[in-house]
């Protein structure tokens, strides 16, 4: 079986998991919410975050065990509501795990595109 045929054969199952993941990402980034789509995208990408949110969102993405109540308090003091923070924290968590998912899939594609894979 050629690699292309094998990939075609693998499509349905591959699609179900990745499709469900895409649906989650689409919902939190583009669906209705209390935080703006721009704010959710910033949290998702962990980039261009305004100062009062920067510590909280950065910690969710890269060092979640260090999150403290003070990080949430600083964001609330700057005017973010609990509903907005709920959305932005989720956006940051899904954003980081999406980067890991994509990095893994890209490495897998590279490993199997040069004839050394299965």
């Amino acid at each position: 079986m050629t690699e292309l045929e094998e990939r075609r054969r693998a499509v349905p199952e591959e699609d179900k998991k990745r499709e469900a993941h895409r649906a989650l990402v689409d919902r939190i980034l583009h669906g209705p919410g209390k935080a703006s789509p721009e704010q959710r995208a910033q949290a998702f990408n962990n980039a261009d975050i305004p100062p009062p949110l920067k510590t909280l969102i950065g910690k969710v993405a890269t060092r979640p065990t260090q999150i403290t109540d003070a990080d949430f308090d600083a964001a609330k003091a700057a005017g973010f509501s609990e509903d907005q923070l709920f959305e932005l924290v989720i956006s940051a968590a899904v954003g980081q795990s999406t980067r890991l998912y994509e990095a893994g899939l890209a490495a897998l594609t590279e490993a199997t595109s040069d004839g050394n894979g299965d």
């Binding site: 094998e6 693998a10 199952e13 591959e14 179900k16 998991k17 990745r18 469900a20 993941h21 649906a23 989650l24 919902r27 939190i28 669906g31 209705p32 919410g33 969710v60 993405a61 979640p64 065990t65 999150i67 509903d83 709920f86 959305e87 924290v89 989720i90 940051a92 968590a93 899904v94 980081q96 795990s97 999406t98 980067r99 890991l100 998912y101 990095a103 893994g104 899939l105 490495a107 897998l108 590279e110 490993a111 199997t112 050394n116 894979g117 299965d118």
Partner: protein, 177 residues
């Protein structure tokens, strides 16, 4: 609703369940659909293997709630808690197959460093793991890297061990939907 579930099950509802019930349209519903597909959808990995990957990724992320929850679930699925404990203690010497061991190593590196190389993936494939199995493992890794972060951010409260065992029984019976 929480009170009702508690009444029926006799166990407190874990914070992980409360999270997906809160504004479910935003996160809970699509997150449950993805996690269920990753953990219970069709795969050459067994449910026990995938729950073990969830516990293992959670351990790399030092997320106590998720480690305990999925250690219990994997142990029940395998009917072999000592095997799960052995993997979490030392994946290199644990009594598991080379394919699963290589996959866990790769997931740990990806979770810890944020990246893996094509060479890392070739090592997994060379251990007898199919391309589709690697993809399936990456889906588990994505689901639990999200959940671990939310458990930390929303400060999921640890449960008594019998409550984690009850939660595990529920997850094996009903899945994540």
């Amino acid at each position: 609703m929480f009170g009702l579930i508690r009444l029926f099950s006799g166990h407190p509802l874990p914070d992980a369940a409360k999270l997906v019930f809160y504004r479910p349209d935003f996160y809970g519903n699509p997150a449950k659909a993805f996690t269920h597909e990753a953990m219970r959808g069709s795969s050459a990995w067994s449910v026990g293997d995938r729950e073990l990957m969830a516990a293992f990724v959670s351990k790399v992320n030092q997320c106590s709630f998720c480690v305990d929850a999925h250690t219990a679930t994997s142990g029940q699925a395998y009917r072999d808690s000592p095997k799960v404990q052995a993997v979490l203690t030392d994946v290199e010497s644990a009594p598991i197959g080379d394919g699963l061991r290589a996959t866990l190593r790769m997931l740990a590196k990806l979770t810890r460093d944020g990246m893996v190389s094509a060479e890392d993936m070739r090592n997994v494939l060379a251990a007898g793991v199919s391309r589709q199995q690697v993809e399936d493992a990456l889906a588990v890794c994505a689901a639990f890297n999200t959940t671990n972060r939310l458990a930390d951010a929303f400060d999921f409260e640890l449960l008594a061990s019998e409550d984690f065992e009850a939660g595990a029984k529920y997850l094996l019976k009903r899945g994540y939907r």
